[in-house]
Symmetry: C2
Subunit: 161 residues, 2 copies
Amino acid sequence: MQRRYSGCPINLTLEAFGDRWSLIVLRDIMFGRHRTFRALLGGSMEGIASNILADRLKRLTANGLLSRAADPQHNQKSIYRLTDKAIELVPMMAILGSWGLRHTPASRELSVRAEILERGGPALWSDFMDELRYLHLGGPRPERSALAMMQSAYEAALASR
Amino acid sequence: MQRRYSGCPINLTLEAFGDRWSLIVLRDIMFGRHRTFRALLGGSMEGIASNILADRLKRLTANGLLSRAADPQHNQKSIYRLTDKAIELVPMMAILGSWGLRHTPASRELSVRAEILERGGPALWSDFMDELRYLHLGGPRPERSALAMMQSAYEAALASR
């Protein structure tokens, strides 16, 4: 059977990402503050291969989920930033995390961020999106930092191991 | 770099699905009422290939997202049902659809279901999950049918084309 075009918004959303590695890269930029190829490669919890990382950064940029700019401090390096389209995936990341908390053997330390996003609900997701707009797009700085809340919970979980 | 195990709930959730085709198959079983290999193949808007469909049904069953039983009316056929773990992906489908409404060229007719799920919010997602538990797991029948609401909106959109 020949593959056909479908205008279904769920299908088109899945096509926009590409695959699991694309979402992992977006997750690392959202939650991990990594913005360069080298930082993303070195910081990858899942040990992404360098050719896969290079390909996904290219695809995400082509699909308008990342923007790419020269690093003013190292002119051979690029800095990747989330676009607003990517920032609007925060609710999906939160929902993926909530499902994972219930149905996968997620580790304690790596579950605390998902728990905070779940407890905070749409109000916290919205603040987190504003924070990412501040960090990646130069928007105004929001009053509360979702990243700081997640980071301190993560550190507390690590300390109590 | 070697791929490593990561206990991140987002990563584990993405690993549980496999890939985009797995989610497309789950979407078709959730929204389309198809339950057999033949019905899923024939009803596929995206023209899924038969080998891919067979592989994804096998993987989704192995990962506990579908259960498989012999069709009492045709003993060579199998009927696939959603498990509770898969039914709990309804919020994610709703969120994927909402994002697609804003950021992809989704068609009018195929957008109405996503719009209804977005407008209905978590209360409607919960009713839809109860309806899927009724249809797939023999749970009690909920008072309102999210599927009927989506179907009539879809037909109205088709008629006004």
